[in-house]
């Protein structure tokens, strides 16, 4: 019981004190988890898997750590801890914002915020393109995916399946020619 509660608290802290999620959480996770709940090697394995798997990285990390420490209940309490503070804060904000959405001051503010949101999404496109090692040979992949979603409204689900399958087949073909 004590273990479950401490898992809840640790991931609550990780969930609450990181803005932006994902990689921003890694330093805090390292400080809170390494040595106490996971060995250094387990932590690196957990991170690698949490990041490679689908879903929300912080939640994946919580589930993996919780499960390792205290089975299914450990996973449930850790995931609840990671999700609950954000859930409550954003819910209060959502209820509040619904009431004031039509307020002229709020409307003016959000007319300024919306273009900035687009800019915030554009920056990681360029950063990730570098990290994903996109070259002149592979640049068609993100372009085709972007056009398929944007211009044709094709579900990202199909594109993810196709891309994964493509990567697998390409890897196999490459292996055979070697």
């Amino acid at each position: 019981m004590k273990v479950l509660f401490s898992l809840f608290l640790v991931f609550g802290k990780i969930g609450l004190f990181t803005l932006g999620g994902g990689y921003a959480m890694v330093p805090l996770m390292e400080r809170e988890l390494c040595g106490k709940y996971l060995s250094r090697e387990d932590f690196l394995d957990t991170l690698a898997l949490a990041q490679a798997a689908p879903g929300i990285m912080a939640i994946n990390t919580a589930i993996l750590t919780g499960y390792k420490v205290h089975g299914v209940w450990g996973a449930i309490f850790a995931a609840l801890g990671a999700a609950l503070p954000s859930f409550i804060i954003i819910l209060i904000l959502a209820i509040f914002f619904k009431t004031y959405q039509q307020n002229p001051i709020i409307r003016r503010i959000f007319m300024g915020v919306r273009p900035a949101v687009i800019a915030l999404i554009l920056v990681p496109v360029f950063n990730l393109a570098r990290a994903a090692n996109i070259t002149w040979k592979t640049v068609w992949i993100p372009i085709v995916v972007a056009l398929a979603v944007w211009a044709m409204g094709i579900s990202p689900v199909y594109l993810v399946i196709l891309a994964g399958l493509g990567g697998y087949l390409y890897g196999r073909a490459e292996g055979e020619t070697k």
């Binding site: 300024g112 800019a119 990290a131």
Partner: protein, 175 residues
Amino acid sequence: MIFLKLFFTFFKIGLFNFGGGYAMISFIQNEIVHKHAYLSTAQFTDIVALSQVTPGPVGINMATYTGYSITHSVWGAVVATVAVCLPSFILMIFISRFFLQYRRSKTVEDVLKGLRPAVVGLIAAAALVLCNVQNIIDYKSVLLLIGAFLAVWKFKAGPIFVLVISGALGFVLYT
């Protein structure tokens, strides 16, 4: 009925979203705005903005907020948030049980190699889709977009700082 649909939609997003919060924008947009028209582009953009400035995983914030906005009920928020986490739960516990030591296999590495460039495309699509007349209303919007982009790209400004400043500029510019 709407709750069931919400559950399946977010379960699907949780299962197929490789690539984190920014890529998830494109999934939610496709399902919630494009396919079902539960929210307008401007409403959804506001959700993305508020999810960025609140603490915690962006994916949780967006699921909770979208669930609430569609149903106008706390239960909608609960359903969307649980549904987006559930695939992780099943997958992570399955992998932990059957692969005691997680080691990347060549197959996993190959699949990820295919996914990475696609994720870049998904995020680009999210930005393109949000560039419509609801969000880009005049030349001032265009200037704000370029300014915010340069602030983050060139001067490494944080997202919260950029959103707060652009909100203040919106208040001043749109009288």
